[in-house]
Amino acid sequence: MIRPALTRLASLFGVLLVVSMLVFFLGSLIPGDLASVIVGHEGATPEQFERVRRELGLDQPLIVQYLNWLGNAVTGDFGTSPITAREVSADIAQQFPVSLELALLCLVTSTVIGVPVGIKAAVSNKGWVDAAMRASLLVMFSVPVFVVGILLLLFASAFAPDLFNVTYVPWQQDLVGNLRSMALPVATITLPFAAMTMQMTRSATLEVLSDPYITTARAVGVKRRRVHYVHALRNALPPVVTFLGFQFGVMMGGLLVVEQIFSLPGLGRGMLDAINNRDYPSVTAITMVFAAVFVVVNAAIDLLYPVLDPRQRSR
């Protein structure tokens, strides 16, 4: 248990290192640099421009720049944003909890909805429940997130304007107010993610339900629901959990649109703003955070496997 965890940890850092190189060097391919953002395009003399470049170390070879950046990044220092003039890490520290909360809430809701419904659909395979569920699933998949989000926003403001907060409230400040500001964005993303979770659970459960040990459990008189929710689900779980972990990574990084619609000050919006403003340090840093979350969650899932499946435990 310890050794695989350590190797896993090592490879995790390896992946992050590669990501950092990609992000850094690809970023440097974009025409213009941080100095041009700071100095601006008009009215700056070439001398001013060169001075800023020197101060930022942009006159040095790319590899030296990268190593400098990496050395700082390891200590959590991603530089200063030319736009907000604040430390990038301070911005991220504010944005991260918002996105994390959003992703966690979505993970919970799509699991709570998707898993039981998926089992139900598998059990009634080809029955009307299954058919109805698969039809609504198709709809939930097909409608783009920005359409659902805007529709929800419209409906909420028309029919229940007091129920939801349109401006973000941090949970440390007011938990209920926070949930009221999170409800609509969570609902928006839950729709497609719950649909995918359901589909995944359905196919995993279907596969397991035809296994002989399910017949064994039925033959010995175990209750139907218990056969489905304990005996079958336990075996259908590994692929579902893998999928949920993957989803979580996608959610953290893929909430740009939703955060924009509902003006949530999360990482996604931070990313959009940074790209629009050519705020290079922020773009690089947020990308690294996304990558780190993705890699860490997937590593955690890998470590969870032996817990879920006894056959993968080393004796």
């Binding site: 035809s210 296994d211 002989p212 040990y213 017949t215 064994t216 459990a217 039925r218 033959a219 010995v220 008189g221 175990v222 209750k223 139907r224 005996h231 336990r234 075996n235 879920l308 499946d309 006894p310 056959r311 004796r315």
Partner: protein
Amino acid sequence: MERLNPADAGPETRANVLTVTDLQTAFPTRRGTVRAVDGVSFDVREGETLGLVGESGSGKSVTAMSILRLVAAPGRIESGRIELAGQDVLALEGEELRRVRGSIAGMVFQNPMTALNPSFTVGWQLMEALRAHGVRDPEELQRRVEQALAAVGMPDPARQLDTYPHQMSGGMRQRVVIAMGMINEPRLLIADEPTTALDVTIQAQVLNLMKRLTREHGTALLLITHNMGVIARMCDRVAVMYAGEIVEEALVRTLFSAPKHPYTSGLLRSIPRADHGRGKVPTMTGFPPDMAAPPSGCRFADRCPYVVDACLSDRPALVEVESAHKTRCLRVQELGGSVADLTVRGVA
């Protein structure tokens, strides 16, 4: 469990624990309905061992699954009557049916590698079988599971509780499956090819174990197999299935010494025997009929060496030709007491 051991009573006085009457189980397929079990009737008496023998596809496993209504959809029991310890199984619903499963009739499945849930310990699964029938007390659960494991000859039962199926050998797993079938002290154990998936050396041990256990507890045994050797060693009576029908039913001794159906006789000839020396084992030619469109006459007709025109048009009934000996053959009187000595067409 204070029950009079039915094995002590004479065979005539024993009551039936299972009576199957005219059972039909069908599967819809693209080519039409396949009646895998087509009008099967038999009974199992308290404490006796009935063998159900036949080749793959003869409907013996579907018969076994039908008894506890475990036939997987889209398979369906179309008609017939199954009476298990006085209860009409086909009339039971929901909870009533669930309570019968495991407690009145237990099952042992063919493949111990897949019959146990890989995600739970052996102890948990056995306890689950007890919990399904209302045992709640943790100490009682533990005690009875250890007892059950000891009864099937598991070394160090207390330690096996935390073992996962994949950590055990096939033979050990099958012992667990048997323990699970027997743990609620059913009156009938249905064993579907219980040794087919096991090494030959383990087969005898498992068979002996089942024989001893059912005898000790007075449990009746319905043993499904394709192996005539297993029948000879284990059973009191035997029913031979072919193409969804029972074609012959007799006491084991009678069946082996004087089979009355050409199919049974062919089966007996194809048992490899050490004293036959080297050479080919005789085999039957041909294949069982297409069950989506079974012949209207005798289903064995096109493989039968004694076939006459009438066999192709008239479907023979299962008739009792001697006491406790039934056969399904039009020519049974003509062919005389036994067909065993006659040469069978197509046998090398």
